[in-house]
Amino acid sequence: MKQSSANAGFIRRNRHFLYILPWMLGFLIFRAFPMLYSLICGFTDFHLFRGMHKTGLMNYIQIMHDPDVLHSIALTVKFACISVPLRLCTAMLAALLLNRMIRGIRLFRTLYYLPSILGGSVAAAVLWKAMFRDHGTVNAILTALHLPAMTWLADSRAALWVIILLRVWEFGAPMLMFLAALQQIPNDLTDAAKLDGAGAVRCFFRVRLPMISSVVFYNLMLGFCTALQEFNAPFVITGGGPRGATTLFSLLLYRSAFTENQMGYACALAWVLFLLSAAFSAAFLLLRRKLVYDPDEGGAA
């Protein structure tokens, strides 16, 4: 009797757990369970049509000795290290320009955000492919400006930049977040800095940037996490070529899992990506603790 009333009390106290039950189920079925499953699979030679055998560390040893994988990891890190900071800097510049209530500012905001609506879409990638063709628009502009035309998509150094430029072009999401954060900075802070004789540049680095640093870090972390997974753009624009110059990690993973059906090896690759991504996140969190000013702890994230 006492036991059941204690149980009833426990249920009553925790009844609002029901609200998060859908998420909880989704988390267990579609995230936690698959993660565990892929961890186990990584130590087997699981093939979709040939069954599963334990192979210990074989996959991971193979990964460490596969020049294609090592090249792809280096390439993916390079892609993230260039595209994310470049995208965020562009977004910040745009946000600073747009952060003034002048006539027509809403129109400008919309125009700057427009490309980002297309996000990682295939349509945007196809457009990019058309523009960077050998006889494409970008080369026509370069020729008109008396600059040398480039074989963008066939040049192993330029091809990665084509994809980077596509991602930089779509800077709308961080721009909106920076803009919202900039608008929250109290005016008296920047006014005080100006009275003390700080110029616009100094005011930005000493007052505004520190004030919105938590939003910047959030975008850095999320940006790296997304960039390390980039798939659509290289898949559509270059197909990973020329000669593997844009075979980012997701492309490699996709090929070994879904064209070669080597699920076990692909799971091991996926865990390598996971650890890489986690390492970057951890590094940013450490850096964040040192550098970020939190007006109300918890911050933007």
């Binding site: 106290r13 996000g119 879409s121 196809v126 559509v236 996926a270």
Partner: protein
């Protein structure tokens, strides 16, 4: 006074230059769809010299097989509409639970929620594919693998975003509702959801855009050509046409982009993320 006028002028010049670069690819795309294939890459200008509608006309003709542009468009929204509605439902309930109530293990669950924010989706593709394979969901006519995870609040970013906005509403609203006899679900429905309407519209629009742009999902889980959504169809038409019918491919892209841009512009009137529609 002169100095501020000068700086405003400089700002306008920079803004306009930036806007031109941002918009040029899109305007070029629109112009290119009205060019003939021989003219399409002849110059970098936007307006076609001899406008033709060949590209648009041919965009609507099928490449053969069971899929056409309009069918692909319909398929895309067969996925997107239920996915957006179910996302709104599940994400609202979850965020409400996390933002307003305490229960056993909440701290741990919050950490898990935030951790999944940074869990790369790519890591999950292989095991999820195997899971859906065993469930018999691959190529399901209801697009179950694409919809069900989202229906269970799978898009954690949206949950976290909504939690922030729930926290922005003073709890006194909830208490007043409870004094008037509302239970917690009624408080959510009658008090909080109307207050959060602009944010919920943003959540819906974001999910819609993500879903329409998604390529990897349909690539893995949709096998029958008749069920292909637009993203897969565009890739197909590019592979089929590259080299000779760019105006047709670009017209297909243009038609794919238009509904998204339209939805965004309509929704923009209702979204005001700065205020969230709340006044103390």
């Amino acid at each position: 006074m002169r100095k501020t006028a000068k700086s405003a002028l400089l700002r306008y010049i920079l803004l306009t230059a930036g806007a031109c670069i941002m918009i040029y690819p899109l305007l070029w795309l629109l112009g290119a769809t009205f060019r003939s294939n021989s003219e399409i890459f002849a110059s970098a200008g936007i307006l076609p010299l001899h406008p033709v509608t060949e590209g648009w006309q041919r965009a609507f003709t099928s490449y053969g097989g069971q899929i056409s542009l309009l069918k692909a468009l319909r398929n895309t929204y067969l996925i997107a509409v239920p996915k957006v509605l179910l996302t709104l439902l599940s994400v609202t309930l979850t965020a409400y639970g996390f933002a307003r109530f305490s229960f056993a293990g909440k701290k741990l669950l919050t950490v898990l929620l935030l951790a999944t924010l940074f869990l790369p989706q790519t890591v999950l593709y292989v095991p999820q594919f195997v899971l859906f394979h065993h469930l018999g969901w691959i190529d399901s006519p209801q697009y179950l693998p694409l919809i069900v995870p989202a229906a269970l609040a799978g898009d954690t970013v949206l949950v976290v975003m909504l939690i922030q906005f729930f926290r922005g509403i003073p709890r006194t609203y909830d208490e007043a509702a409870r004094l008037d006899g509302c239970n917690s679900l009624q408080t959510l429905l009658y008090i909080l959801v109307p207050l959060l309407r602009p944010v919920l519209i943003s959540v819906g629009v974001l999910q819609l855009l993500w879903t329409v742009n998604d390529y990897m999902g349909p690539l893995l889980y949709v096998k029958t050509p008749a069920r292909y959504p637009l993203s897969v169809y565009i890739k197909l038409s590019m592979d089929a046409d590259t080299g000779f019918a760019w105006n047709r491919v670009l017209a297909v892209c243009c038609i794919a982009m238009l509904p998204q841009i339209l939805v965004y512009f309509i929704a923009q009137r209702f979204m005001t993320p700065e205020t969230g529609g709340i006044k103390e």
